[in-house]
């Protein structure tokens, strides 16, 4: 019985961690949809966003104030990226844009450290990394309050963004651009506005992910690499699929925890770091287009 309870605990913790991966992967998917580019700057955006958030709090802004000022700042980052990087490169190849996002990543990392310094900050969200008593009482499961909060916030944000893209005019515009940017432009969908929206959404995602991860591990440069955890998620889910990103994030989260706990000891532990990539490679062999990767529609 306790064996089973323990297994459930592991899976639940994994799923909750997985919602964060889903969320970060969603940031990538949105940008991929709009510009068919893998945004290498996403990790730097996470770092930049949460470091700025902590910085604003240190300057004396209240939590909510710092949160919204940072969102505005990420909107500004999106605006500058669109105007200074993407717009001039609009007619260049996707490879060129890819290189530009790598450059953007370095710029954001540099800016963040120049503005706020290099030392590791502590971020206290007022939520402890302790099991929640009422869950223990009712089910016997030990679930961390921080894990649960992160999971719920990520799930809420994912739901919100999905609805936005399914049911709003902007969302229709984005889906049109994702299918055929030229045709979208020919009927008057302004590509630059769509880009701005997508980069701002990615900025919000980056901030929330940074806050959740930063609260556990401290706000530090390592957050840049944590965002790359989204890569195996994208391989499994498909680069252009929102449901794919969500499900694959959960799969990675749960399986990485399960593998760590049950198989990890045979490898001397610490397999969380690379197990998702092995999983992704197997997946790639089985379904190269990803779990929900949009099938390419071709007609003769």
């Amino acid at each position: 019985m306790t064996e089973i309870l323990f297994f459930i605990e592991v899976v639940v913790a994994g799923l909750l961690a997985g919602t964060m991966y889903s969320l970060v992967a969603l940031g990538f998917v949105l940008i991929y949809k709009a510009s068919a580019t893998f945004n290498f700057a996403q990790g730097a955006m996470v770092f930049f966003a949460v470091l700025s958030f902590v910085g604003f709090m240190e300057l004396g802004l209240p939590f909510i104030g710092a949160f919204f000022v940072t969102i505005l700042l990420m909107g500004l980052v999106g605006f500058c990226t669109e105007r200074l990087v993407l717009e001039p490169l609009l007619n260049e190849s996707e490879d060129t844009v890819l290189m530009a996002t790598i450059g953007l990543g370095f710029v954001l990392e540099g800016l963040a450290q120049a503005a706020w310094g290099v030392e590791v900050r502590r971020l206290d969200l007022g939520i402890g990394d302790f099991p929640i008593q009422w869950i223990i009482d009712s089910t016997g499961l030990f679930i961390s309050a921080l894990d649960l909060t992160a999971g719920v916030v990520a799930a809420g944000l994912i739901l919100g963004l999905s609805l936005l893209f399914r049911y709003t005019k902007m969302g229709l515009g984005l889906r049109a651009v994702a299918d055929d940017a030229g045709a979208a432009s020919s009927i008057g969908i302004p590509l630059n506005n769509i880009m701005l929206m997508v980069w701002t959404a990615a900025g919000v995602v980056a901030l929330v992910a940074g806050m959740m991860w930063g609260a556990r591990a401290g706000v530090q440069f390592a957050l840049v690499d944590l965002a790359l955890k989204a890569l195996p998620v994208l391989i499994i889910g498909g680069f252009s699929s929102i449901p794919g990103a969500i499900v694959a994030g959960l799969i990675i989260g749960a399986s990485e925890k399960v593998l760590e706990v049950y198989i990890g000891p045979y490898f001397g532990g610490g397999i969380e770091g690379w197990a998702p990539y092995v999983l992704a490679i197997f997946f790639l062999l089985w379904r190269p287009e990803g779990l929900f990767g949009e099938k390419i529609i071709r007609r003769v």
């Binding site: 229709l172 299918d179 055929d180 045709a183 432009s185 969908i189 529609i297 007609r299």
Partner: protein
């Protein structure tokens, strides 16, 4: 003076270059009178699409540039606008190859056409009904993913989508491409009806000379970026030599293009041509 309210579109001797070097158009001039259908005819690589993209400003996204000459649309000079700005001025291009949003439903495709307009949900519904009254066939397909509809249906989606923007002028790029003859006439019938009932002016690029001229008021024939011949659609249509050249029907075998045109200008003074220019620039 250029701004002439009788013409919704006036193109004055434009030269267009891709990538800064490849000259696609040399000296194209044409007018589209308000409310008319004008056909732009020519073979592969003649410069039809380039002409349309110069007007809609889609050219910029392909590194193309109008280097000399002038385009006046609805009294305004077309210069460095974005395609979205042209759409809000009432000019919409239907691109070659239909280009539907394959993962969107037929209805979502059409609604996307109204992106430039500020419409309420109810207004969008009314507009959709109006569009479906022209495109009956699309109404039954409204929930279907457009990527899985037939070529003819996709062409209708593309035109319907463009009409949702409430254009004053449509630029249609080879709507007959890859369609069975019966579907071609169906598409052209709708286009003609849109022109007559909605008053939308149309510039129509086609390789299918016959069907284009039968639905147009006026026609221009271009080759390698030059206007070779232009005139009333019916005079072009009844012109044996035009048929010979563009339908590939010739009793005496293929003639030199310039010789044919020279003969034509002697026999039909109502057709206009630009031979002097051609002789200098075309070398074989």
């Amino acid at each position: 003076m250029t701004s002439n309210s009788e013409n919704i579109l006036e193109i004055e001797t434009i030269e267009v270059v891709y990538d800064g070097v490849i000259a696609a158009l040399h000296d194209v001039s044409l007018n589209v009178p308000r409310g008319s259908v004008v056909a732009l005819l020519g073979g592969n690589g003649a410069g039809k699409s380039t002409t349309l993209k110069s007007i809609s400003t889609m050219l910029a996204s392909e590194r193309g540039k109008v280097v000399t000459g002038k385009i006046i649309y609805d009294g305004f000079e077309v210069k460095n606008q974005r395609p979205a700005e042209m759409v809000s001025m009432g000019l919409v291009q239907v691109l070659e190859g239909r280009r539907c949003f394959g993962h969107l439903t037929v209805e979502e495709n059409i609604i996307a056409g109204a992106y430039s307009r500020k419409l309420s949900k109810a207004e969008i519904g009314d507009e959709l009904e109006k569009i479906y009254s022209y495109f009956n066939r699309l109404k039954d397909l409204r929930k279907k993913q457009s990527g899985f509809t037939s070529g003819g249906e996709q062409q209708m989606i593309a035109v319907a989508r463009a009409m949702m923007a409430k254009p004053k002028m449509l630029l249609l790029d080879e709507p007959s491409m890859g369609l069975a003859p019966q579907l071609v006439s169906e598409v052209f019938n709708i286009v003609k009806k849109l022109n007559q009932s909605e008053g939308v002016s149309i510039l129509l690029a086609e390789q299918n000379t016959n069907i284009a001229l039968r639905n147009a008021d006026y026609g221009y024939i271009i080759e390698t970026g030059h206007v070779m011949l232009h005139g009333k659609a019916d005079s072009l249509l009844t012109n044996d030599k035009v048929k010979e050249l563009y339908l590939g029907i010739s009793k005496q075998g293929r003639k030199n293009f310039r010789d044919v045109l020279r003969q034509e200008s002697e026999q039909h003074p109502d057709l206009h041509m630009q031979l002097g220019q051609t002789e200098n620039t075309t070398s074989h």
